[in-house]
């Protein structure tokens, strides 16, 4: 099969309708944004790539070995291969102030932040979008696995890769000028294209976890910025079972790194008390202490007009990336806060993480779990 036949027909139609548009591609050096660039170019679009440098190694006491330099090298190679211009923009100070500082503050407050969601909101779809306007481009393209139909954010067709969860907090005003070509493709097809085209990063490992931490251990990384205050670890009955090294280094549902021995089922974190600096643990993956049926979410962002949401209807939600949809009822407290009652109890609901709501495949928005 020729490579071009791997491009879904809906993308060909979209390109036909938008052939006069100037596209700015956010390229990372990974396979997804690279294939996005190849597809757009192959469809005859006018594409220019931009590589964002978001992390300031000078402020990192132990920078991981040149991952940004390697990524940029891949960008150069890929752009040469597909024949598009590329540029770099340095958004490191914006990232530091608007994403990383918030990340540290949330950890200090005992919550479990998701910097990737904030990066999309503040960096890619705010600052990069501002640059797109200044440069007079029409459309921003990224390699996300999500779709936009009629200015609505939809799940990507590859259920295993769908990234709409990370996009719920972006400003809905940008959606008409954003495209996610990979949203209507399977990841395996993307890899196939990359290999057939001969992109240098065709077999590059997908990035996982928090981008600025990379392959480093979370605790080691965070301890460069936050001083941990030791405290007690207590079981469900209030008995002291160990000592923690600082609440910021633990998250709800965490099993590893507790350094609690003894026979029996493994220990899991189920609660953090910032006031008393105590960490609460329970035994067994199915312990009742790990499960809750409802939550409150604040700082909600709605990607559809909130007036159009029928709060008497059942929707589905995810409380973490890649979770199966969970049936729920959403009760509006105010425009930015909701109470969510799940049909089934949810394991390890972590304050600071996000709950994202769906009506079938449409992403309605979401909020930060309290």
């Amino acid at each position: 099969m020729s490579i071009k036949k791997l491009i879904p027909p809906q993308l060909i139609n979209w390109a036909e309708k938008n052939k006069d548009k100037k596209i700015l591609l956010a390229i990372s050096g990974g396979v997804d944004s690279s294939v996005t660039g190849w597809i757009l170019k192959e469809l005859g679009m006018s594409v220019t790539a931009v590589f964002m440098k978001n992390w300031d190694e000078d402020k990192d006491p132990e920078p991981s070995k040149c991952s940004s330099a390697e990524d940029f090298s891949d960008v150069q190679s890929v752009c040469h291969k597909i024949g598009i211009d590329y540029h770099t923009v340095n958004l490191a100070s914006e990232y530091w102030d608007e994403v990383f500082a918030h990340f540290l503050n949330e950890l200090k407050a005992g919550r479990t932040p998701n910097p990737d969601i904030l990066c999309n909101k503040e960096i890619k779809f705010k600052h990069l979008f501002r640059l797109l306007n200044e440069l007079k481009f029409d459309v921003l393209a990224t390699g996300h696995y999500a779709r936009i139909e009629n200015s609505k954010l939809m799940k990507g067709v590859d259920e295993n890769k769908d990234q709409s969860y990370f996009l719920y907090d972006i400003n809905k005003q940008v959606l008409p000028r954003v495209t996610f070509p990979l949203g209507c493709m399977e990841k395996s097809t993307v890899r196939e294209i990359a290999n057939k085209v001969g992109l240098a990063n065709a077999n590059k490992k997908d990035s996982t976890g928090i981008c600025f931490i990379g392959e480093r251990k979370f605790t080691n990384f965070v301890s460069n910025y936050l001083k941990g205050k030791k405290g007690k670890i207590l079981d469900e009955n209030g008995l002291v079972v160990g000592e923690h090294s600082g609440l910021a280094f633990y998250t709800i549902g965490q099993r590893h790194g507790l350094k609690l021995g003894g026979a029996g089922e493994p220990w899991f974190v189920y609660h953090k008390d910032i006031t008393s600096n105590e960490l609460f643990v329970t035994r067994g993956t199915k312990s009742k202490y790990l499960f809750k049926q409802e939550l409150i979410a604040k700082n909600c962002n709605w990607l559809v007009d909130i007036e159009t949401i029928d709060f008497t209807k059942k929707y589905s939600a995810k409380i973490r990336y890649r979770q199966q949809d969970q049936a729920c009822e959403i009760t509006k407290i105010d425009n930015q806060s909701v109470r969510v009652l799940f049909e089934d109890p949810q394991r390890a609901i972590a304050p600071g993480q996000s709950v994202v709501f769906y009506d079938q495949n449409i992403c309605l928005g979401g909020g930060v779990i309290q």
Binding site: V50, K53, F72, H87, T88, V89, N90, L131
Partner: protein, 372 residues
């Protein structure tokens, strides 16, 4: 935009500080050498073809000796592949020394010592562009012309050091040869410069070392270059260096005049643009083909560069040898420049191939990019 995009001629290239486009005389010379049936053989081979290649290298060496007014008795000349290699070679050679001074304008390879070697300290430069070297060092690494501000720093003669290494990458051809020799070169024990900064090919950087300096090669193996640097030499680049250096030597007055004329013309015209100012960050001269411009803080420096690129206008910022992503350099940090302001300071450097019409075009595009 598409029309301007197609224009890839040199007329829009104003980044000669980073790489000086290959001179026409160099191209002509190389074309003749690479003509049909010609062979640039391995200069280490003892047969006729090898000897021919060796002769061509010898011709370059002769030209370098003449340009610097030195003799083989006093100096070794090693052809490195880049200024970075030359710098690294010297850094390794002098690693055993107890105290090292590094000018804030120095090559990033030396600057790394500041974080890693407790025996290394910075040599600052005052507002008048003079090196401030009070502490005595065993070796000092000095760059007398900043890659990013184009200033000609003075006071190498006062640098308190047993050995002085001079990075001459921006010196050769950029200031009158006599000044270069008397104010800079004569105080150096080791000196290096790059071919691509003077219109020769990339891939060659001669390292001139006084024979009184104890020296060990960094690359070992084939015994090339009288065992001072192993590895087959880049003969073609070395040949190009000869032609380029002869050109600078013989046409110096003409080039410097041309530079000054264009620079003055540009400086006058740029005054008409509201959001762009000329800047000189030190109270001392900048080299003749160079000026810094500062774009108003309301304009994003990254966006400004991308817009210029759309018109195929090339100017730069930061150190000439660093990669594309901008990072404030130790030099600008040392004078307390705010990183945000530094991001909006650009260098414009002219070449002999530019005309006033090219400058007019540059000014027009600059205007468009700050007003659009």
């Amino acid at each position: 935009m598409s029309e301007s995009k197609a224009n890839k001629s040199l007329s829009g290239y104003f980044d000669c500080m980073s790489t000086y486009p290959t001179l026409d005389c160099v191209k002509t010379h190389l074309r003749a050498l690479l003509g049909k049936d010609n062979l640039i053989a391995n200069s280490s081979s003892s047969h006729y073809f090898g000897r021919e290649a060796k002769s061509l290298i010898e011709e370059t060496t002769e030209v370098i000796l003449k340009y610097f007014n030195i003799s083989r008795e006093d100096y070794s000349i090693i052809y490195c592949s880049s200024a970075t290699e030359a710098a690294q070679t010297l850094k390794e050679n002098f690693s055993y020394l107890k105290t090292k001074g590094i000018s804030v304008s120095a090559h990033s390879c030396f600057m790394e010592l500041i974080n890693k070697d407790i025996s290394a300290s910075l040599i600052n430069i005052d507002v008048n562009g003079r090196f401030q070297s009070e502490k005595k060092n065993d070796v000092a690494y000095i760059n007398p012309i900043s890659h990013e501000t184009g200033n000609i720093f003075s006071g190498i003669n006062d640098v308190n050091s047993d050995k002085v290494v001079v990075d001459g990458s921006q010196l050769v051809g950029k200031i009158p040869r006599v000044e270069m020799l008397s104010n800079h070169f004569q105080y150096s024990d080791c000196f290096f410069f790059s071919g691509h900064k003077i219109g020769a090919l990339t891939g060659v950087a001669p390292l001139l070392i006084k024979k009184s300096v104890k020296f060990k090669p960094l690359l070992l193996g084939g015994g090339q270059q009288t065992q001072l640097r192993a590895g087959t030499v880049n003969t073609l680049a070395i040949i190009s260096l000869k032609t380029a250096l002869e050109y600078w030597h013989n046409s110096e007055a003409k080039i410097l005049n041309h530079n000054s004329e264009l620079k003055n013309y540009f400086c006058e015209k740029i005054l008409s643009i509201e959001n762009i100012n000329l800047v000189n960050l030190f109270n001392c001269d900048q080299i003749s083909n160079f000026t810094n411009i500062e774009v108003d803080e309301s304009i994003n420096g990254d966006v400004f560069l991308i817009k210029l690129d759309e018109y195929r206008i090339a100017i730069s910022r930061g150190s000439a040898c660093l990669s594309s992503s901008y990072k404030i350099t130790p030099l600008l940090k040392s004078i307390g420049l705010n990183p945000k302001r530094a991001k909006n300071i650009f260098r414009v450097s002219f070449g002999i191939f530019h005309s006033k019409a090219d400058v007019d075009h540059l000014v027009d595009v600059l205007k468009k990019c700050v007003t659009n």
